[in-house]
């Protein structure tokens, strides 16, 4: 099988001045990332994530082993033309403004001026920096620099996106937006390598993850396999009368099981986003980045180059369009629940779940264990970004579709 990224016995040893091996930053790493997959590379600081990426891109030479990107050498122009890379910090030319920055990178890709201009505008719109696009990047806050860094990684409409800690320094809206973007890009057939130690980010968007420690993979596999707690069940319902709750308790007691019944909390992320969106509707001025929810249309087109121009012409969505429907999604508990249990689901619930595929060490299971299966939502696939913003996406843990098996925090039981 052709992997999007493949490393074979990749090793990086940092030696001291005398050539004596000091640190194994990456130790015999064998990664296989399939095309059209969102792959998360996790690990604490200094576990070798960034070193791995730097070796993939030819910024560091491996001590041993080799790596293939899109079936070739990552430093070859033919390959790097199809790769987008966001380093661990947005290293930008401080003296350029946002527009010039994107134009410069576009020129490095050999794009013609028309394409550059269109994509630059679309990306500026997307990352919400259009209003400050003529300010030197050196005056940007960290989050704004991060946004322009992301835009820079997308200017070539890459097939493979390598993101090193993409959400550091971003506000929750930006974080949410990047996560949505990753999901959207994956839907459009792109491959994403996400490298992070922010577990929530990885959990929300990744199909598969690998956890690195000391340069070695300690665990890898599908997110839901790794996180599923087979000895727990969660039931989420509409508001429930006390009597019904008592009956459920009784029922469970007969099965010798305990349960806890409470009202779920709203996620802080959802609450924050709603608050800010509301403020934006009242047009509170800000000197910072404007948050938009649209995604550079040229990125989400399945077809290649030829159609992009047409799409770009047709694409631009006005900024006001996004703020409209927000109110419909109230900061209320998620109500879209099937009142009567789904037959399929129930039968599934009773089946023993498959055990996660784990290597080497026991996977780092989430201690709070709040990601069990939840009822499937009927109309979730083609929803607007705004719906996603309000956190409607929930994990069902049942389908194989990359767009659907991304586990998102389903709220507390």
């Amino acid at each position: 099988m052709d992997y999007a990224i493949e490393t074979v016995a990749l090793t990086k040893v940092f030696s001291d001045w005398w050539g004596r091996a000091k640190v194994y930053a990456v130790d015999d790493l064998n990664l296989q990332i399939r095309p059209n997959e969102v792959f998360g590379l996790l690990g604490p600081n200094g576990s070798g994530k960034t070193t791995t990426i730097k070796m993939l891109l030819g910024l560091l030479h491996p001590t041993k082993g080799h790596s293939l990107i899109l079936g070739g050498d990552g430093t070859h122009p033919k390959i790097s033309a199809r790769v987008g890379f966001l380093p661990e910090e947005s290293y930008l030319y401080r003296f350029l403004n946002a527009r010039e920055t994107l134009d410069f990178y576009g020129r490095l890709f050999g794009l013609d001026s028309k394409t550059r201009e269109m994509r630059t505008e679309a990306l500026l719109e997307m990352v919400g920096l259009k209003a400050v696009a003529s300010r030197p990047v050196g005056t940007y806050s960290k989050g704004m620099a991060r946004r322009i860094g992301l835009a820079q990684a997308l200017i070539n409409d890459p097939d493979l996106l390598i993101l090193d800690e993409p959400t550091t320094g971003l506000d929750p809206i930006g974080t949410r937006q990047i996560k949505d973007l990753i999901i959207k890009l994956a839907e459009r057939g792109k491959t994403v390598l996400l490298c992070s130690h922010l577990l929530a980010d990885v959990e929300d968007v990744c199909d598969r993850i690998a956890i690195l420690y000391g340069g070695k993979v300690r665990a890898h596999g599908r997110v839901k396999d790794l996180l599923q707690r087979t000895n727990k069940r969660q039931i989420l319902t509409d508001s429930l009368s006390d009597a019904t709750a008592e009956r459920i308790r009784e029922l469970l007691r007969q099965e010798h099981a305990e349960c806890e019944i409470s009202s779920p909390m709203e996620r802080l992320e959802t609450f924050f986003i709603n608050t800010v969106t509301e403020a934006q509707q009242h047009a509170t001025p800000t000197s910072g980045a404007v948050s938009t929810t649209q995604i550079g249309e040229f990125l989400t087109v399945g077809a290649r180059q030829g159609d992009i121009l047409d799409e770009l012409v047709a694409a631009p969505v006005s900024e006001t369009a996004q703020t409209g429907p927000v109110q419909t999604d109230k900061p209320a508990p998620r109500e879209a629940v099937t009142p009567e249990p789904d037959k399929d689901l129930l039968s599934k619930l009773t089946q023993p779940a498959s055990s996660p595929t784990v290597e080497a060490v026991t996977p780092d299971r989430k201690p709070s264990g709040d990601v069990p299966e939840t009822p499937l939502q009927p109309e979730r696939v083609k929803k607007s970004v705004l719906d996603e913003l309000t956190g409607r996406r929930q994990s069902d843990g049942s389908t194989v579709q990359p767009s659907e098996d991304r586990a998102e925090d389903g709220g507390h039981a």
Binding site: L59, R94, R107
Partner: protein, 458 residues
């Protein structure tokens, strides 16, 4: 190419917006007008112009050299240090393209700034006489001796090796070597003898005549222009008033020697000049024979009561207008540009493996050594008696590998209005740019292509 150009324009932007270039530009824009007003030289208009052009060009050349070093080093080291290089080399651009792009950017910046400042200097040099009260004599003098490009003819050195050999053998046979040259090696003795004989060939005894012949003298317009005999007297016995009389004949002297008639005029000049000072005799260029032959004869009148010598290096030369001041000035600017091109190559090379301070120091060391190479070579020449071998194979070799900036310094041509010949331009272009510059740049490309660009972070 498009990618390299993107890098080049970005480099220029960086230099301009990071205020690196701005400092130098402002400095020059302030200093050049100040120089115009303050330069006075020896008080004459010519001296004033010479001082201004000399200082102006030297200053421009120096500041642009520093600017080139700083910009070329900074554009690479800052990318590596601030890691913008991560997002640049991971784009579809080869590393050598990146370096060549930056190099192009520096060169474009250099060409633009050099054009600007050389233009300012030229403009000032041409306009100054209009704002200064000038006498017609002054005007003629500067037209002949400054606003021009004069080719220079030096009498060829006479081969005296036979005479040296003979005398050496004679002294050796008579066992007088030690007495005549105490504590000297055979090489040094031969050197001194050679010098003595050569000087002898350029000396005129009391009452004697010395004639120098030149061929291939081709003034651009013989009927309009003047020809200059530039000379410096030396004497065996310095007269009380330090003045020497001279009786000069300039023209086709074959007629006088052979008794055949010549159709070009022969000029006779009698004058009195101070010793050990440069003086010029002006004669019409029409004295040159049709076949480009010219002879200069000097008679040492008996009342001088001393032998008159013309020092070997610069005792006598014939100057004539061969090109315009503007053309010469442009070629002078080209010489500066070659120097800048080499320095840009050098900066790239240093930055490809050193950090900013290290690379700057390295480049400055090379620059200063190159700019003072002849001085250094000379001073080591005196020491060579003791450290000869060590020195010859180390420092001297290194200095010869470096470009010798001081030998292609345009002010040494423009101030005495000497022609900067295309031969010289070609030689410097070939040596400094095509050979040394290219080697250094290729070295930079190779080092940069194979090094690790990311820092060691664990």
């Amino acid at each position: 190419m498009r990618r390299m150009w993107a890098v080049a324009t970005n480099t220029i932007r960086q230099a301009l917006r990071m205020k690196v270039a701005a400092i130098f530009i402002v400095l020059l824009l302030v200093l050049l007008p100040v120089l115009v007003c303050t330069a006075s030289g020896d008080g004459t208009l010519k001296g004033r112009l010479q001082t201004f052009v000399s200082y102006g060009l030297s200053l421009t050349s120096l500041l642009l050299s520093l600017l080139t070093i700083i910009v070329s080093v900074y554009s690479i080291t800052s990318d590596i240090e601030h890691r913008q290089i991560y997002t640049v080399v991971t784009k579809p651009i080869r590393r050598y393209e990146l370096i060549v792009g930056k190099f192009l950017g520096v060169i474009v910046l250099d060409v633009a700034l050099l054009t600007l400042f050389a233009g300012i200097i030229y403009g000032c040099a041409v306009l100054v006489p209009r704002f200064v009260r000038t006498s017609p004599e002054d005007r003629t003098q500067i037209d002949n001796e400054f606003y021009t490009a004069r080719a220079s003819l030096v009498p060829p050195q006479v081969d005296v090796s036979e005479e040296v050999k003979a005398l050496y053998r004679k002294l050796e046979a008579e066992d007088q070597l030690e007495a005549a040259f105490p504590r000297s090696t055979p090489v040094e003795i031969r050197k001194q003898l050679t010098r003595r004989f050569q000087l002898e060939k350029r000396a005129a005894d009391v009452g004697r005549v010395r004639i120098w012949e030149f061929r291939n003298v081709r003034p651009s317009d013989p009927n309009q222009q003047s020809l200059f005999v530039r000379f410096k007297y030396d004497v065996s016995v310095t007269p009380a008033d330090e003045q020497v009389y001279g009786d000069w004949r300039i023209g086709d002297l074959r007629g006088l020697q052979n008794g055949t008639p010549v159709d070009t005029p022969v000029w006779r000049v009698s004058r009195r000049d101070p010793v050990r000072k440069f003086r010029e005799i002006e004669v019409p260029a029409s004295v040159v024979a049709k076949d480009g032959y010219l002879a200069v004869g000097f008679m040492n009148p008996t009342w001088n009561e001393t032998v008159v010598l013309f020092p070997v290096e610069d005792g006598l030369e014939v100057l004539y207008k061969a090109d315009s001041f503007l053309a010469n000035f442009v070629r002078g600017a080209l010489l500066i540009l070659f120097r800048l091109v080499f320095l840009a190559c050098l900066g790239m090379m240093a930055a490809s493996f050193l950090s900013f301070p290290g690379a700057i120091l390295f480049c400055l060391a090379v620059f200063v050594t190159g700019a003072t190479s002849s001085g250094i070579l000379e001073s080591f020449g005196y020491m060579s008696k003791n450290v000869g071998i060590v020195y010859r194979y180390t420092i001297e070799a290194v200095i010869h590998l470096l470009p010798q900036f001081d030998q292609s310094n345009p002010t040494q041509f423009l101030v005495p209005a000497r022609l900067i010949s295309w031969t010289l331009i070609g030689r410097v272009a070939l040596g400094m740019v095509c050979l040394k510059g290219a080697v250094v740049l290729i070295l930079a490309l190779v080092i940069f292509s194979f090094r690790e660009l990311a820092k060691v972070v664990v």
